[in-house]
């Protein structure tokens, strides 16, 4: 079965409501400020936004529905996408199809969260039914503990070392030093990474993203509309998602990308080595390595060797998480699922300023989300192209 292409879909105006460590504002403030930035950067009137995709953890008890009233929108297409780190590409897929079908003319896609002293613990304690009942009581380690178990299994299966994870983290910090939006910009050496205190072994402090507040967004509309508005845009060459892949794997050593990778590259008419930059979802480096494998940049189990052979900085052999990723930018809740996408857009639009990848024509972006019990359930990926 052939999937329809994403022809005539323009993705424009990557915006970020700057991340901050903590905030007194609510999640709706971050989302509304992001919407305002989309209007300011596009020059369109709020009434022209007739489609909306929203992702947020701390908007609770509200959803995208309540946000329409909060922000004075009357969309005829509305998506609430609680898919965490996979939500950016998934919002893009939903918005692109709505635009192609004529169910919406301009879709605003926004994701963001607030952060305060208790928000992270509250989120972790009641993240899901399975997690609340069968994970949290065993030490309340939260995502650090869940990913530590996955990382432990992955290291035993593949021979990955802390140095391999550290190489990704150190390269991302180098990239972050060129991104004024990144919260963590002090230089980082591999020795400093290795010397960090243990959090949930084998994970140490610098393996763990820093929760913060912030939001990201972009607009999706027909190419004809973007041209009429004189808005630079990128194209969607291919996009996939998968949920609860490989449920019989006893422990997660792969995500859903492996199921849909061939469809992604076929749809894009490209291969894994035709992209100039890669943005993976780096809540932990082990997951970035699973994405490199799952999306075909290297074979299953070979990401450690791949990492040893490549340089992931802006001028390196494979620019990766060029804005610093979540490990250096911070994890603003659901905005973490948008971070790589808006960074890839900036690179392809030539707006990455001090960290521009030379000749960036094609970008691979992937997402991963939702440790419902023992593994992340949502996988997504997209290939974007310069128009």
């Amino acid at each position: 079965m052939t999937t329809l292409s994403y022809d005539n879909v323009a993705v424009c105006c990557p915006v970020t409501e700057p991340y901050v460590r903590r905030s007194e504002h609510g999640a709706a403030w971050f989302l509304a400020r992001t919407l305002r930035r989309l209007l300011d950067s596009s020059g369109i009137d709020k009434s022209a936004i007739d489609g909306l995709c929203v992702s947020s953890f701390t908007l609770h008890p509200d959803t995208a529905v309540g946000f329409t009233q909060y922000a004075g929108l009357s969309p005829r297409f509305l998506e609430w996408l609680p898919m965490g780190g996979a939500c950016g590409i998934i919002a893009l897929r939903r918005a692109a199809r709505a635009v192609q079908a004529g169910d919406a003319g301009i879709v605003a896609c926004i994701a963001g969260d607030t952060a305060n002293e208790t928000s992270f613990r509250d989120l972790v304690a009641s993240f899901s039914s399975f997690s609340r009942d069968a994970v949290y009581p065993y030490g309340a380690g939260g995502p650090n503990a869940s990913f530590a178990l996955i990382a432990d299994a992955y290291m035993r299966a593949t021979g990955a070392t802390r140095e391999d994870f550290g190489k990704l983290a150190v390269a991302q910090r180098a990239n972050a030093q060129r991104n004024p939006l990144a919260l963590l910009r002090t230089p980082l050496t591999l020795d400093q990474y290795l010397a960090a205190r243990p959090i949930s072994e084998p994970l140490h402090l610098l393996d763990c993203v820093m929760p913060c507040a912030g939001a990201d967004g972009f607009l999706v509309m027909p190419e004809t509309r973007a041209r009429a508005l004189n808005l630079p845009f990128v194209q969607v060459l291919g996009a996939i998602e998968r949920h609860n892949a490989f449920p019989n794997d006893p422990v997660q050593l792969r995500g859903g990308w492996a199921m849909d990778r061939d469809a992604l590259w076929t749809q894009a008419g490209l291969g894994p080595h035709d992209v100039q930059l890669v943005q993976t979802y780096d809540d932990y480096a082990v997951i970035s390595m699973m994405q490199l494998e799952g999306l075909g940049l290297c074979a299953p189990g070979e990401a450690p060797d791949f990492v040893r052979r490549h340089d992931f900085t802006i001028e390196g052999s494979l620019p990766h998480n060029t804005g610093g990723g979540q490990l250096s930018t911070g994890q603003a809740g659901a905005a973490g699922g948008y971070l790589g996408l808006v960074e890839a857009m900036r690179q392809l639009l030539g707006k990455a300023e001090g960290r521009q990848v030379a000749n960036a024509r094609h970008a691979l972006v992937s997402g991963f989300g939702m440790i419902n019990y023992d593994r992340g359930l949502c996988s997504s990926a997209g290939v974007l192209g310069r128009a």
Partner: protein, 101 residues
């Protein structure tokens, strides 16, 4: 005693418990009871941080993923000497915490 949910229709065991069978969606579920469940450790971590202040006096705490011989995988507290690959017996303690011995 420790209990594991099993489907009367398709025979599959499942954990965490739910109101229907995750394999065949039958609601004919019953509980297998035993003194312990045999299994094998898939992964372990030593926790040095907890999101719950009440847990912090118990740190560091070793937990692991254990696959029961019956199939399902559970997050369990582990004795410090237990490593991935080890065969274990999972018991339910009176304080409702699982402990492998």
């Amino acid at each position: 005693m420790i209990r594991l949910q099993r489907c009367a229709d398709c025979g599959r065991a499942q954990y965490p418990p739910r109101e229907v069978c995750g394999t065949c969606l039958s609601e004919m579920l019953h509980w297998d009871s035993a003194d312990f469940l045999p299994g094998r450790v898939l992964a372990r971590t030593v926790l040095h941080h907890s999101n719950e202040p009440a847990m912090r006096p118990h740190l560091p705490l070793t937990i692991g993923l254990v696959q029961f011989d019956a199939g399902p995988v559970a997050v369990c507290l582990l004795a410090d000497t237990i490593l991935p690959g080890h065969a274990v017996q999972v018991r339910l303690n009176a304080d409702a915490l699982l402990e492998a011995v």
